[in-house]
């Protein structure tokens, strides 16, 4: 018989394989992305140099990368929570908007209650996402579509406010609100733009890790995510948890929006988030839903985002160009996942050989 290549599932995968595959996936994505850029008439070496220099070249660059990593980490935890339960909340972007809108509303209408800002952003974004959760739990309506449609609704809601009733009269007609008073701003640290949100970006992943690994609810969540039928069989209440997890996921994304708003930008404006919610999906997936890995991956993605902005300024490329790289990284990670689950074996001649040997 001729030798054939054959695919079969791996019974176990060594611990290092995951790391090797992740890094080679990123490397291949950057290589292919380079080819793509060259094809578009952009020098890939120059582009990558710009990215690295601006994001990691000096202290300011690093601090800017951290600034990007903060909302990414928080939003990454938000979607990770939903993904762990097998819920495809891909509307974190919209939940970030809602969190920000709610914060802005609090600051605008109840300026003395600055401590309630975080709470209101969590509540609003949580309920926003829980609506999709309710539709999924009660009516089995696909959450991918509802969370995404809600994102477009949230985006238009934001536009409504910044173009309409909340527009800053002193803003020269730009779609922005009046700047927050200092009392409603999160303090910044070390003379950089890094704000207090960083505490959350460190604490939240640790809490999530402990909850998922050691708590009873974390165990339930993982069972429900892996096999909802078995979860029902074990007496877990899937329906209630769908709504609860979507609420929490949305609430955490809302906090990310609040941090970005009162920690960094200080005013609500058109195009406020810049795709953190969508990038968070990649972050969570790249981190294999491990809360601690999310911190690291967020930093890497922060490099890409800072780099992307410099590309826009220096090389006049559209801001969404980095999405090409993000998409490619996801492609390669997915492809790499295959090699973690299956292995390729040569069948035919060799095996027949050792069969004869054993027979003798």
């Amino acid at each position: 018989m001729r030798g054939l290549l054959k695919v079969e599932p791996r019974l176990s995968s060594p611990w290092w394989l995951g790391a090797v595959i992740t890094f080679s996936s990123i490397a291949s994505a950057l290589a292919l992305g380079g080819v793509f850029l060259a094809f578009m008439g952009v020098s890939p070496l120059e582009a990558y140099a710009v990215i690295l220099r601006s994001a990691l070249g000096d202290g300011y660059g690093v601090s800017e990368t951290v600034v990007k990593a903060i909302p990414l980490t928080i939003a990454g935890i938000a979607v990770m929570l939903a993904f762990t339960m097998g819920l495809w909340n891909i509307g974190a972007e919209g939940q970030i908007f809602i969190g920000a809108i709610a914060s802005a509303a609090m600051v605008r209408y109840f300026p003395s209650e600055s401590r309630a800002v975080a709470l209101s952003s969590m509540l609003a974004a949580g309920l926003w996402a829980a609506f999709a959760g309710y539709l999924k739990a009660r009516w089995n309506i696909n959450e991918i579509i509802t969370t995404l449609m809600l994102t477009y609704v949230a985006m238009n809601l934001l536009n409504y406010f910044v173009y309409g009733p909340w527009r800053d009269p002193a803003g020269l007609g730009f779609p922005i609100t009046a700047p927050f008073p200092d009392s409603a701003r999160l303090p910044t640290l070390w003379g950089t733009r890094i704000h207090l949100g960083i505490v959350l970006a460190v604490v939240l992943p640790c809490v999530a890790w402990v909850v998922l690994r050691f708590s009873r609810w974390g165990y339930e969540l993982r069972v429900m995510g892996e096999n909802p039928r078995a979860a029902g069989f074990a007496g877990m209440n899937y329906t209630r948890n769908v709504a609860l997890v979507m609420f929490l996921s949305g609430a955490i994304a809302g906090i990310a929006g609040m941090c970005e708003l009162s920690g960094l930008q200080g005013r609500l404006q058109h195009g406020f988030s810049g795709g953190y919610g969508n990038t968070a999906i990649i972050v969570a997936w790249l981190a294999r839903l491990n809360p601690l890995a999310i911190v690291l991956v967020s930093f890497l993605m922060g490099v890409l985002l800072v780099g992307g902005e410099s590309l826009q300024v220096i090389m006049r490329l559209p801001l969404s160009s980095v999405m090409v790289l993000q998409g490619l990284i996801l492609f390669f990670i997915l492809g790499g996942e295959f090699f973690r689950k299956y292995r390729i074996r040569r069948v035919g001649a060799a095996i027949t050989g050792d069969m004869e040997r054993e027979e003798r």
């Binding site: 009516w139 089995n140 995404l148 449609m149 173009y163 996801l330």
Partner: protein, 309 residues
């Protein structure tokens, strides 16, 4: 009646890109592959279609190019989800991201250009029918192409051997495989063709509808098409209804704005998205929880022949 004609005509025109995308996705899903990259594929189709149309001066070449680009994205999705058995949701999101980024990058030099687009070709006799003639039969050929495609698919799924095989693969790949039908070949083919048709929907947007290219111009239509596939219960004829309904909402919204309504634009622009959710809700209530008839049973699950239970 006469006041309605322009709105209905606009509904058909703005529903057409969604219709193409829905038809393409129905094809892909019927064979058991879930492709959520529609938004990215439409954008790439719009961008490549427009650029080829602009630089060659031939709009049809643009449409053909869009189909090819879409098919290449379909190929990518098929490689990841069929051969590599990867998660189809993530693969679709990756395609959306890649398509969004790549189209912005590709199209960055063409912003602000316009092309003549496709000529109107009134269908003889049919376009003389009062109201309906104007609404349905006074457009360009690419729009008529969607009518042909709907009729073709209705016939293809029910009365042809390849159509039967396609449904078999989507419903029970294990059985189809045991009957000697190649699951992988079918999935590759229809994922590619389906994505090609989605991209033609994108091309309609830039080449025929707006006659220009703008970054992110599909603005969620790809996702609406994903929802419409469920709305249509995987039936091409019902997809027409859904697509024009959405086209109608969009046309109505634009007309209200043009008429200087006091309702702010962003509120009106929410309408299609709110309606998508409302439509899914109505379907869910009508069908009862958890049971969606007509859904291909093996949708979204990779097939591995030697898997044993």
């Amino acid at each position: 009646m006469e006041i309605l004609v322009p709105i209905l005509t606009a509904a058909v025109r703005s529903g057409t890109p969604i219709l193409y995308a829905t038809l393409g996705e129905i094809l892909t899903e019927k064979v058991g592959v879930l492709n959520l990259g529609l938004e990215g594929i439409m954008l790439l189709g719009a961008c490549s279609g427009f650029s080829v149309a602009y630089f060659t001066g031939n709009a049809w070449l643009g449409v053909g190019a869009a189909f090819l680009v879409g098919a290449v994205m379909g190929l990518l999705h098929a490689i990841l989800s069929v051969t590599f058995k990867g998660n189809q949701v993530v693969s679709g999101l990756a395609i959306t991201m890649f398509g969004t980024g790549a189209s912005s990058l590709l199209g960055r030099t063409m912003v602000g250009f316009t092309i003549p687009g496709l000529p109107k070709v009134p269908v003889p006799y049919l376009s003389d029918i009062p109201v309906l003639g104007k609404v349905l039969f006074d457009h360009d050929l690419l729009l008529y192409g969607s009518y042909v495609l709907v009729l073709f698919f209705c016939w293809f799924y029910s009365s042809t051997r390849p159509g039967l095989y396609l449904r078999a693969v989507g419903d029970n790949p294990r059985a189809a495989d045991a009957m000697g039908i190649s699951v992988d070949k079918n999935r590759y083919l229809y994922t590619m063709v389906g994505a090609g048709i989605v991209a033609v929907g994108g091309a309609y947007l830039s080449v025929s509808y707006t006659k220009m290219w703008a970054e992110l111009m599909s603005s969620g239509r790809g996702w609406i098409a994903v929802a419409l596939v469920i709305f249509s219960i995987w039936n091409p004829a019902r997809a027409v209804l859904g697509a024009y309904l959405f086209g109608g909402v969009e046309a109505f919204q634009l007309r209200l704005q043009a008429a200087g309504t006091t309702i702010p634009a962003p509120i009106l622009m929410m309408l299609p998205y709110v309606m998508t959710i409302a439509v899914l809700f109505v379907i869910a209530i009508r069908q009862g929880k958890g049971i969606i008839f007509g859904a291909p049973a093996a949708l979204g699950t990779p097939f591995y022949r030697e898997e044993r239970d």
